[in-house]
């Protein structure tokens, strides 16, 4: 019932679900100096305040289960027959359930264009506030979480995600041909992007993209996968005034499937090969000791990465994405030394 202002930039302000944060006078800008403020709605991010007032801002997970054959969008010419991966820890059910075509290293082929949508549980969001950094830890399920951080004088919302192991034996997604989660940053249509998106081209050029069209590849038969693009630096969407940009720290896939939202794929774990050249499933296992000198325990890869999300003016987005790139990919080189003695002698 009370809103605890976090770090003069992030106000934990439980608001009625669906409340129009852009209603006049609702802007939390008065509460904060200019710049980014992530306003939380009963524990999960609900808005970011920009020069134009609060912009609704929600983080969710789009969990694509991979095609298990008979995908409705594919004509019969695809001869992507499943080749299970020898030695994988994946539970590979009878192949007959998976007559192909399959998602694989070369191709993203979900079994539906409507992913399973995971929202952060508002009961166990952990809000951490202090004089320097404030953060919101949100878990979507046992193996998917994201921590949003806001630092003083910064317009970037740092998102540190942890994903995996996916498709563990007995888990809900183990019965599918694969699991391909994306993090979705959604402004609930506040950024009127009208089907347009900008993605980098291997970190060099910003390429305009139009949902549903891909010169030379029309018509697009896959409403979701057909609108995904490989990025190595950033993806952004903009209306005339406001923009949303996501800077990433590694190559991945990105799409804008609804106006005002950008999604970035953060992990993939697939049961079958897509028969386009690798000859084994994309299912990276890790066999690591889980105690000193212990036996190796093999499980799916766990990944952790950082996105830097900027909600701001459309004009300022290119510069904001360049700055976010530098923070994300070219941090100062850090070295550490434990000093057990020099302090005394020098003193």
């Amino acid at each position: 019932s009370t809103s605890a202002v976090m770090n003069q930039r992030v106000a934990v302000r439980p608001t009625a679900l669906g409340e129009d944060l852009r209603a006049p006078g609702r802007s939390s800008k008065e509460q904060h100096s200019s710049g980014t403020a992530v306003v939380l709605e009963s524990g999960v991010p609900a808005a970011v305040s920009t020069q134009d007032g609060d912009v609704p801002f929600k983080v969710s997970i789009a969990l694509y289960n991979s095609s298990s054959g008979n995908a409705p969008f594919v004509d019969d010419s695809d001869n992507q027959w499943p080749i299970g991966r020898a030695g994988s820890t994946l539970p590979v059910p009878g192949l007959d359930q998976y007559p192909g075509p399959n998602s694989g290293a070369y191709i993203f082929r979900p079994n539906s264009s409507d992913p399973v949508r995971l929202h952060p549980s508002s009961t166990n969001a952990v809000v951490t506030a202090g004089p320097i950094v404030s953060e919101v830890y949100m878990s979507f399920d046992a193996t998917l979480s994201a921590t949003l951080r806001v630092y003083p004088d910064s317009d970037e919302v740092e998102v540190n995600y942890h994903v995996g192991p996916l498709m563990e034996e007995g888990s809900a997604d183990a019965k599918f041909a694969g699991s391909e989660p994306s993090i979705t940053y959604d402004t609930a249509g506040a950024v009127k992007s009208e089907g347009r998106m900008i993605t980098d081209s291997n970190g060099y050029r910003a390429m305009p993209r139009e949902r549903g069209t891909k010169p030379g590849y029309e018509p697009i038969s896959e409403p979701a996968a057909g609108n995904y693009y490989p990025i190595t630096a950033f993806a952004s969407i903009a209306s005339d005034t406001t923009a949303l940009g996501v800077a990433v720290d590694r190559p991945c896939g990105a799409a804008s499937l609804t106006d005002g939202a950008v999604e970035v794929m953060v992990h993939r774990r697939l049961q079958f090969d897509d028969s386009l050249g690798v000859g084994e499933a994309l299912a990276e296992d890790e066999c690591l000791p889980e105690e000193a000198g212990g036996d190796l325990v093999c499980r799916g890869l766990m990944v952790s990465g950082t996105h830097r999300v900027v909600l701001g003016s459309a004009d300022g987005m290119p510069a904001a994405m360049r700055a976010a790139q530098r923070h994300n990919r070219h941090p100062p080189v850090a070295l550490f030394a434990a000093d057990t003695g020099s302090l005394d002698s020098e003193k």
Partner: protein
């Protein structure tokens, strides 16, 4: 050849293959890319750890610098060794900015101790200069703890001492650094329970 970065250059050259860039190689090839990159990284970072501290100034003989490649998994043997009663009197963190513009960043250092931490900037003799720097202790969340547990033994190649495992990092110490272009900045982290409240790292409010 002969340059400490030669191994890394060879590995990076190898990974320019479209498989390396896009992940369309078989697992054993991906593992080999990782092994080659890691060997290249280790060789390069050994060179960096030996020479960059000298860019900053006269390095006390007791200071042996090393990178913490698993800091993103909250694993850093040097910074985790700072605990009440341990031999480590202070941890020195050195940052090198290869850019041509000043870098102002917030850094996160894994710590096992959360009370009485004091951060100071160091001069060219690695001695404290100026007042303590504002800092904040942020406890690890569930995902960070899980991620750390997953890599702890491989990060320290099984050498994780009992101390690092049981008394290892429980939080991250956050503070601001400012590094001039193509320069270094050094900071010390000590435990000083007698320091004033403002000098010590502030706890976070968690709810």
């Amino acid at each position: 050849a002969g340059l400490p970065t030669a191994r890394l250059a060879l590995a990076l050259g190898l990974v320019q293959h479209h498989d390396g860039v896009s992940g369309t190689e078989k697992q054993h090839v991906a593992d080999d890319y990782a092994r080659q990159l890691a060997k290249g990284y280790d060789g390069t970072m050994a060179f960096v750890a030996e020479h960059v501290p000298q860019l900053h100034g006269t390095v006390p003989s007791a200071l042996k610098f090393a990178p913490c490649a698993f800091a993103n998994a909250s694993i850093c043997t040097a910074s985790e060794s700072l605990r009440g009663g341990a031999d480590t009197k202070r941890v020195v963190a050195l940052y090198f900015n290869a850019d041509t513009t000043e870098r102002k960043e917030y850094v996160r250092v894994p710590v096992a101790e959360t009370a009485g931490l004091v951060v100071r900037e160091l001069d060219a003799n690695y001695q404290p200069k100026g007042d303590p720097i504002e800092s904040q202790v942020v406890p690890l969340n569930d995902a960070q703890r899980r991620f750390r547990a997953r890599y702890l033994y491989s990060a320290t190649s099984g050498k994780a001492s009992a101390a690092t495992t049981t008394n290892g990092a429980v939080a991250q110490l956050v503070f601001a650094i400012s590094v001039q272009p193509r320069s270094t900045a050094a900071y010390s982290i000590e435990i000083d329970k007698m320091a004033t409240t403002n000098a010590r790292a502030r706890p976070s409010t968690v709810f």
